[in-house]
């Protein structure tokens, strides 16, 4: 096992091939879940992404991915430990939060009563017992309102696994229905967040990642 993880720990960093003046694509690594899949997804698209917790590398990147799988309270404490909770809201380049990453960019989440980064002015709630929790599988995204969804059809399916959701708000750029209509994607200025996993959402997910790289 150690051999395998070692071999894959450092994918070669190549010069930015998507036009920015900075240092390519960084995936924030703060110990929150399996983020290899995101790196692999970009690799399939021909882009090398760096997994990093280094503040300078993140600040200088052309594009930043803020992933997250797991429990919100734990993830936020990991962010605080590394000081990234202060850095992320100050980033100027396009930032894409995925799943828990997006939820942590909101004001507050009911999960472990956790205060978020406050980038998106919205709260994160838990689905009720009227539906199966977690929501697991492919659901549609509608009312698409951003270049992030260029060439992606209304009603396209994306893969989701989550028990908490962001409420509809002024910053909603995609809507999904599960028990209620909720925000499955958010945008404010250079900050983007998606509740679904584009890295696991087949061709549509790949298109979204490509779109993010060209923002």
């Amino acid at each position: 096992m150690s051999q395998i993880s070692q071999k894959e720990e450092h994918m070669s960093k190549q010069p930015s091939s998507f036009g920015g003046a900075g240092e390519g694509l960084s995936i924030i690594d703060y110990g929150a879940g399996n983020i290899k899949s995101i790196q692999f997804a970009f690799k399939r698209l021909g882009y090398d992404a760096v997994l990093t917790s280094d503040v300078k590398t993140i600040q200088q990147a052309d594009k930043v991915i803020f992933p997250g799988v797991g429990e919100a309270g734990h993830a936020m404490s990991m962010l605080k430990k590394s000081g990234l909770d202060k850095i992320i809201p100050t980033l100027k380049q396009p930032v894409l939060g995925i799943c828990l990453g997006m939820q942590l960019m909101c004001n507050h989440t009911e999960e472990s009563n956790t205060k978020g980064l406050g980038i998106f002015n919205v709260d994160v709630k838990k689905f009720s017992k009227k539906v199966k929790v977690p929501q697991m599988g492919w659901n549609t995204i509608t009312n698409l309102k951003s270049d992030l969804f260029k060439s992606i059809s209304e009603g396209e399916y994306m893969y989701l696994v989550h028990s908490y959701y962001a409420e509809q708000c002024a910053e909603t750029i995609a809507t999904t229905h599960y028990e209620i209509d909720y925000a499955s994607a958010l945008q404010k200025d250079n900050f983007y967040g998606v509740q679904f996993h584009p890295e696991k959402s087949s061709i549509a997910g790949e298109q979204l990642l490509k779109n993010f790289l060209t923002l």
Binding site: M1, E8, N34, K36, E71, K132, P134, Q135, M136, W138
Partner: protein
């Protein structure tokens, strides 16, 4: 709306698919990565890899396979078979598995479910339950249905939910291999009594069986092996049939 999921299951031994797979135009039908990519392109919603390697060497090869699948396949996948510790799960998730499935080890050590869901999150913990209906009662079995336990299917399912499982993969030993349809009554009862997704397994033979398991069995997903591997039921045709029956699917 959330779509019902179609999940092909591949048995893996020493890094190769076994029981045979019969796709046309495949250079290497034994290579799980080639097959996984093919299934993703054909419209599978998820994949399950079941490791049936008996040796330590086979297990190591499995990790290498998981890494290759994660690198090359753009849909989620679950890995099961022989997982009995936090370390096992950690290694699989680090190689890029989205979920893991435990079965015997959960029965022998139920606290493992709590530990895994706490450490890695419920979303990646699937508990597989094999059960056989004997004199009207559904009894949980281990080791591929050969060893009966004292556990009742529904009681055990509720316990695994309360311990933090994110999903249940229920295989009916009575139906498995019969190609006569899924155990829809038991499935519907599970779905009504529990609040986590239920994957139906065992008995797929026709497209109608899938329609039935989603409608009558109230399943959230359906898993099958041979009907997909031998092209008896092409996934796209299956999904079109489901759609004609007003079942939400990703097409």
């Amino acid at each position: 709306m959330l779509a019902k999921r179609i999940i092909p299951c591949l048995d893996i031994k020493n890094g190769r698919t076994v029981k045979g797979v019969n796709f046309v135009n495949l250079v290497d039908a034994g290579d799980p990565v080639v097959l996984a990519k093919q299934y993703a392109e054909l419209g599978a919603d998820e994949l399950v890899f079941l490791d049936i390697s008996a040796t330590l060497e086979g297990r190591k090869t499995m990790l290498e396979m998981v890494l290759k699948v994660a690198e090359q396949v753009n849909i989620p996948f679950t890995v099961g078979g022989g997982i009995s510790s936090i370390e096992d799960v950690d290694a699989l998730l680090k190689c890029g598995a989205d979920k893991i499935s435990i079965n015997s080890s959960a029965v022998k050590n139920p606290d493992l479910i709590n530990q895994l869901s706490k450490k890695f999150g419920s979303q990646c913990v699937v508990v597989a339950i094999d059960a056989k209906q004997i004199d009207g009662e559904w009894i949980v079995h281990l080791a591929g249905g050969t060893i009966p336990t004292k556990l009742n299917l529904f009681g055990w399912a509720k316990e695994v939910e309360s311990r933090g499982a994110g999903e249940i993969l229920f295989t009916s030993m009575n139906n498995d291999g019969t190609k006569a349809g899924f155990a829809n009554k038991a499935l519907a009862k599970l779905s009504e009594e529990l609040n986590i997704p239920i994957i139906a397994s065992g008995g797929a033979g026709t497209k109608q069986h899938f329609v039935d398991t989603f409608v009558k069995g109230k399943a959230d997903a359906a898993l099958a092996a041979s009907v997909f591997h031998f092209g008896e039921i092409p996934i796209l045709e299956l999904k079109e049939e489901l759609k004609r029956n007003n079942i939400e699917v990703r097409l």
